[in-house]
Amino acid sequence: MLRFILSRVLQAIPVLFIIVTLTFFMVRLAPGGPFDQERAMSAASKEAINRQYGLDKPLLSQYTAYLSDLLKGDMGPSLSSPGRQVNEIIFSKLPNSIQLGLFSLAFALIVGIPAGMLASLKQNSWLDYIPMTGAMVGICLPTFVIGPILSTVFGPWLGWLPVIGWSGGIEFKVLPTATLGLAYAAYVARLTRGGMLEILGQDFIRTAWAKGASTFSVVFKHALRGGLIPVVSFLGPALAGLISGSFVVETIFVIPGLGQEFVNSALNRDYFLVLGTVLFYAALIIVMNILVDIAVVWLNPRSKFE
């Protein structure tokens, strides 16, 4: 297993390198620069700013300088928030994103897995159709529809929950968590149902039934472990997506997370912040996928570390 992890980590290095290189040059190709604004600034000021950030040097030497800083763990300054460093921005916002991500994931699993299991056990009955239709609706309804609806109902109408903010009591977490988690819950429900149906149709389950095992024992002891494999595979990218932040949910509920930085940095042509967030996201996905691969082997006796 150690060899497996080591080889995956080694594979990740060239992947990250390619991502950094592509991002570096792609963001420079986009029209408009970080200091372009509606009101033109004097040429002398613009030159001075470019000098301050080393953007006056040839692109290739900027690239090598960036890589060498990166190796030292320095992702550079933010160009749109003078005085802030990319490292600082990512690590100050990450805890909120992780919190929101984990809460939403917990919500998705708690709601999604039981619904999917129920649907698979009562296949082609109303207990299957209704939750699966609901799941389809959940997948289709985007967060920018659900968020404002929940927010309007529980904020201005009922006055039960705050509509903006994140730090504070549990009441601040409810609406963003439900908004972000709902679509994931729907996916989890559908994947659980699919995975369970496949397992429930297999010989060893039929054998278990034939031996007179109880429903509880068949479902929880034999089927669930295999039935959840699709969910587990989905969890890696899902968690990476959840942790790296959700632009929409963060904007709707004014949450200081990474998602807004991810989007705004591109819009602002904040070169170093774009690189920082892309790199962080890429690394996160790679790590999550390694963890998922380990979990899948652990869950499925037929697969092996390769």
Binding site: D36, E38, I49, Q52, P162, V163, L267
Partner: protein, 545 residues
Amino acid sequence: MPQCRFLLLISILAAFSACSPKSSDTASKMTVADQAIKEGILIRGNGAEPQGIDPHVVTGVPENRIISSLIEGLIAYHPSDDNIPEPGVAESWEHNEDYSKWVFNLRKDALWSNGDPVIADHFVYSWNRMLHPEFGAKYSDMLLIVKGAKEYLSGETADFSAVGVKATDPHTLEVELVGPTPFYLSMLKHYSWYPVHPPTVEEFGGMTALSNPWTREGYVGNGPFILEEWIPSSVLKVKKSPTYWDRDRVKLNGIHFLPIESETTEDRAFTAGELHVTSIVPSDRILKYLEEKPDKIHIDPLLTVYFYRFNVEKPPFDDVRVRQALSLSIDRTSIIERITQGGETEATAFTPPGISGYFPPALSGYDPDKARALLAEAGFPGGEGFPKGVEVLFNTNESHKAIAEAAQAMWATELGIQVGILNQEWKVYINSQQTLAYTISRSGWQGDYMDPYTFLSMWTTGNGNNNTGWSNDEYDELILEQAVSETDTAKRLKILEKAETILLQEAPVAPIYWYTRKYLLDPRLKEYNPKLLDNRPYKYMYFEE
């Protein structure tokens, strides 16, 4: 089952809310805004997260709203009229006959938040910083009106003592400008002229470091409020300053600036009682508020114009008659009544009204008959032969799109010409506009100070904000020679009126409407007055229940 789940969800949420001490019991009685009023705290929506709060580094409205609470310049904002200079750090001032030399007498009780006195040398240091060729201040051109500033910024001279600003003693600042500038006091209200505390700036990175972290690690200001806490993308809190010279007048105990980018979120937060002032009202909600809650919605005129630029370097807009024809066939009233719906006024000139003594000619208007005649004269009778590929460029935005579509339809109906529309993402659009890679481009311009110069100087030949390719010798002469040497204020404004007449007749731009600021305001907050420059001094505000 989905109903069950929904019910379950509601009951979970209800349980959560029941557990929270703030909500269910007290919600009906006291909102966040109510509680804040009890504590004398103003909570305001502030649009985007500020780029920073260093007055020499940032540009933008959200930044200005915060900085104006933390730092005070020589001249302060008047509570209700932007034409009036209000004493700030300068308690009095004199100028020579032609307004080119100024002496400011600094008040002796002006203190920084760390207790240091605010002295004239601090202004010299601050303006040196703004103009330093290695610093890169985005608003450095505001200060180019100071004698020798241009040479210093461009690096022609490295000696700041050659620039026309001197501290003759700790409380006297002498300024020499390049020419007569009767509106200088109004310029001084802009944050580019604000002082910073030199020892603090030096301590955290020095005068010329753009990435100087002094604003987060040791903010020292001289305004009515001091920085209390700044959690990026969450809240920026300021509290009443104990060292501000006019502290007895300050009634608020603090202000919380919330960076709420989404207009609808801000609207919901206001409705839910979490804000006292919003920065905007979603355009589809304006009419509803006007009907149902007229005491909460406010629509104030602004010194800002919405207009279309024509690229005069590209046919057919190299012909003034075509430009005039397109401008004359825009039904501005209809755009305001049907699209923007926010109390804007039809722009009959480029400079918005409100600058005392200045009355620009009302030359831009709706006259489709004249427009058709002009277009025919230019060789396109009934739109025949009008070149293809003319497009209105705008940055991606629903309102800009609706206006462009309206103009497109008006031109098709009135002139028989087909014009396309093209949206681009913000930075791409800026780039296209600045490189003249467009035929027609939507634009906006906000005045920085109360003088027509802030709207007219940009149209001189080669000005960095011209972006139309338009050049007119007589216009340049009026703006760059006559207006800057005329010492009589009334005559000077006449010269500017003459220049604006040329601009409107030559029509490199088609002014469409003058903006308004639309916002929601808790009626209990007082002295939040309409201001043309959108500067609302917090030191006068208070709550009245």
